[in-house]
Structures are given as structure tokens and as C-alpha cells.
Amino acid sequence: MDRVKRTLTPYLLVLPGGLWLLLFFAVPMVTMLSLSLQEGDIVNGFVFTGHWQNYVDAISAYQTQLIRSLVYGAITSVVLIVLAFPVAYWIAFYGGRRKATYLFLILLPFFVSFVLRTISWRMLLTDDGVLLHPLKEAGLLPGDFQILGTATAVIAGLVYSFLPFMVLPIYVALERIDPRVVEAARDLYASPLTSFRKIIFPLALPGVFAGVLMTFVPATSDYVNSELLGSSETTMIGQVIQSQFLSNSDYPSASALSFTLMTVLLIGVFAYARALGTEDVMKVAAR
């Protein structure tokens, strides 16, 4: 009896949370897949007809936005690696006793609502705002110069939004490096550059991978930055899906787009994992 109770315990503990995830994460995905194959409208209701044409129509109508989002997401991740690596490196190796303080400072933006932060950026970047006005007065920028509404503004906003998600995993990977390994490299007459290239960077790669996972997916599917900082020239797929769902109530085509986005992102992530090719990388990602 006691044994039965003991083997049942983990299942009882897991049951409520697991059910919640099944009912409100897994089941909705199936519902959305089904909805994406239906026909009809919000007034007369939708009927399942296995209508694959939804996908063809949605993708051909919005391929520009879909491709643009993937490009923005990829640029964001690359810029993030370049910006975040030196910071993570400095904190991990030179942060000393203040490591926790520096990480806390990096995380400060998370204490302000995502939407509010982006609105602050919009204020800073307006054509006659605090940043551009003085530069224009000083003649450093032409009078009609503007950043808001451009792809640069949207990508800069995305980079800002997800920077901590790149710094942290790279920091964790660098922090785990055994100092003796680097010392050994030096004892064997490796130059600082060689030991960085051959020892430190490869050991940091799992962190870079985790960082790309944590930034590419949310950046590609984001619609807050492109809505607040962009223009009709920078519309991203998230904005399309959001307005199809919430303004047009065109659920089948919105579901088809949403599903396409997820499939493309999943394929991208797996292809990327394959390209890097180590099992370690997947293990770190799964953690």
C-alpha cells in the first residue's frame, strides 16, 4: 500500500499543472490548426472543410511581411551577439565581487512594462525629440532627418527589448569556464587571441545558441516595436496576425498565418541546431 502511494505521489503532484498546460497550451494549438482549415465568417460561423487554400492565400498575401519579420529577427540576433558578448565577457571575467550588481543593472528594464519602455523610445526618437533636436540645431543632422518609421528604428527597438536575453546565457556559459583551462592554454604558449579563439569562444557557443533561441523567436514574432516605432513600410507578421484576429475577426486566415509563423520558426531553430551540429548545444537549449 505504502509503495503504491509512493509511486503515485509524483503523478498527483504533477497532475494539476500538467493538465493546465495540456488544456490551455497543447489543446489550443490543435484548435488553431483546425480553425486554420475552416471556412466561413464570424456571423455565420466557421465550418471545418480541410481548406488548405487558407494557407496558400494567407502566405501569398503576406509573404513580404513574413520574410521581413524573419530578416529583422535574424539581424536583431546578430546585432545582439555583437553587442552582448563583450559585456557578458567583461562581467564574467572582470566583474569580481560586483558581478551580481552588473547583472542586476542589465536586468533593470524588466522592471518597466514592455509597452511603456517602447513608448519611451518613441518619445526619445521623435523628429524633434530630446535626441534629434539638439543634433539638428548643431547642424550635425539635416533638418528633415528622421529615425521613427524606419527599419533602423524597429530593429534598434527589438535589440533594446531583448538585450538582457542575450547577455545572460552568454554570461552563464563564460562563467562556467574553468580558469585552469585558460591558464593551461597560456602555459602552452597560446597567445591571448588564440586562447580566446580556440578556448573561450567555443566554450561560450552554447550560451550564444541559447541567446539566439531566446531572442530570435520573440523578435521575429514581435509587433509592439514595429507598431510603435515603425511605419507601413516596416509592418511585421505579428501586426498582421494581431489585426486579422482582433480587428477583422478573420480567424481561419489568421490561424493559418500564426501556424505558418510557428512552423517556420521551428524549422529555423532546428536547422540552426543542425548547422551548429553538437548535441551539447541542444542539451543547453533544453535546459
Binding site: 509511486t7 503532484l13 490551455f24 511603456l116 521623435t126 523567436v217 520558426l265
Partner: protein, 264 residues
């Protein structure tokens, strides 16, 4: 560890520049809570005032939205805290059939784009004809935060020394007593971190809330809805208060846990 790549001073300066960049919009938000704008747009600096701190709750719709956000966040923290602790403890303590599938489900919920989770939940609610409001928002928030709580609790449980349980059993404690008297106090800080994380994720969430709220307004949704007509300074004041509260809580919990770490 000195790596003698040189330029560490340059990196130090660079780190501070990046931190400055991260803090810049926060400073703008705080500053414009003290601004005295003449028109509807709180965009240029026009003079210092404390007026908005006195009138912070003057806009009824905004205050209602903040209250909804707080209530949803408290409910989410409690429910996700309880469910996530169950999952985290079980995964850390036992090996059992289905644990792998559960881990995969949690990983998928953490890694999936919010946009997809939000839109799929809306699809389901629409298909079922379920009403949208504070309940559907809370359901969604528990869904995306429960995995985070579980991960935090599991990380603490796997480091538990099993001999503690054996010692308690040797002294005649039942499994139930051992859990509440020995295990629970040890993992409590991890549970509290998980609960705080769930609260923070919930109160800040925009995307999933946007899909599951219907006509209900939360703090981020209200801000999003009023960007075109201009944000009132009260939003900056509320944002500043949430920021200050969060930072204070984080700093306090860090100070409290520090001496213990040294003793261990």
C-alpha cells in the same frame, strides 16, 4: 582571472555605456512623471511638478486597469506558484514515466512565441464560445508562467541532500511530516522566487493578454490603447511606482539571502 587580452578598461567603459543605454528610456519615463505639460501630449519638458503624484488615481479607467492587472497578477502568482511547485518538486525528487514528456511540454510553453500562444488560446475560447475577461486572462497567465515556477523549484530540489530525509525518517517522522518540517522550509525561498517571477511576468504581459482580454483593460493594454491620443503623466507615475517597488523588493530579498549564503 586575468586574460591579458588587453583593453579590459575599454570593455569596462563599454559595459557602462550599454547599461546607460538600457537605463535611458527608464529615466525618461520617471522624468516625465514630474513634467508639467501644457497640452495633451506629455512629450517635451515644460517644468517640474509633483501634481501627478497627488492625482495619480484621478483617471478612473486607468486606475481600474491597474487594479485588474494587480488582481490578475496576484491570482496568477498563487495558482502558478502552487501548480508549478508541484511539478518542480516531483520532477526534482523522482524519476517517473512521463517526466520526459512533461519536460518537453514545459520547454515548448517557454519557447513558443507569445503571439502563437495568445492567438491559439483565442482560437479555443472563440470555438468554445467562452467569455473573455479577467478569468480568461488569468488562465492564460498561469499557462505561460507555471513552467517558469516549476523550473526554479526543480533547480533547488535537485540539489537537496537526501540524507536529510533519511535522518528525519530515522527519527520516526512520517513522509508528510518530513516534507512540511524539513523539505518545505528549505525550498521555500525557491518557491517564493517562482511566485515573484510569475507575478512579474503577469503584470508586465502584453501580447497574450491582448489576445485573451476581450474588452477588459489591464495596465499595459490601457497604455497601448492610449498611445495615439497621448499618454497622461499618471501612466509615468504608475510605471515609476511599479519600477521602484520591483527594484526595492529585488534588492531587499537579495540582502536577506546574503548572510545565509555566507554561512553555508
Amino acid at each position: 582571472m586575468r586574460l591579458r587580452i588587453g583593453g579590459d578598461r575599454l570593455l569596462h567603459v563599454y559595459t557602462w555605456i550599454l547599461i546607460g543605454w538600457l537605463i535611458l528610456p527608464i529615466a525618461v519615463m520617471i522624468l516625465f512623471g514630474f513634467n508639467d505639460p501644457q497640452g495633451r501630449y506629455n512629450q517635451t519638458w515644460q517644468g517640474f511638478t509633483l501634481r501627478w503624484y497627488g492625482e495619480v488615481f484621478a483617471l478612473e479607467a486607468l486606475t481600474d486597469a491597474l487594479v485588474v492587472s494587480l488582481l490578475v497578477a496576484v491570482a496568477t502568482a498563487l495558482i502558478a506558484g502552487a501548480l508549478g511547485t508541484g511539478i518542480g518538486y516531483a520532477l526534482g525528487r523522482w524519476r517517473f514515466r512521463g517526466a520526459g514528456a512533461l519536460n518537453l511540454l514545459m520547454f515548448a510553453a517557454i519557447a513558443s512565441p507569445e503571439l502563437v500562444m495568445g492567438s491559439s488560446l483565442l482560437s479555443m475560447f472563440v470555438s468554445l464560445g467562452a467569455p473573455l475577461g479577467p478569468v480568461s486572462i488569468t488562465i492564460a497567465h498561469v499557462m505561460f508562467s507555471v513552467s517558469f515556477v516549476a523550473v526554479v523549484v526543480r533547480a533547488r530540489v535537485v540539489t537537496l541532500d537526501r540524507s536529510l530525509e533519511e535522518a528525519a525518517a530515522d527519527l520516526g517522522a512520517s513522509g508528510w511530516t518530513t516534507f512540511w518540517k524539513v523539505i518545505f522550509p528549505i525550498i521555500l525561498p525557491a518557491i517564493l522566487s517562482g511566485v515573484m517571477l510569475a507575478f512579474a511576468l503577469s503584470i508586465d504581459d502584453f501580447v497574450i493578454t491582448n489576445f485573451t482580454a476581450g474588452t477588459t483593460q489591464t495596465f499595459p493594454l490601457w497604455i497601448w490603447g492610449s498611445t495615439r491620443v497621448g499618454l497622461p503623466p499618471q501612466v509615468n507615475v504608475m510605471g515609476t511606482m511599479i519600477f521602484a517597488g520591483g527594484v526595492l523588493l529585488a534588492v531587499l530579498s537579495n540582502i536577506r539571502s546574503r548572510p545565509r549564503r555566507k554561512a553555508a
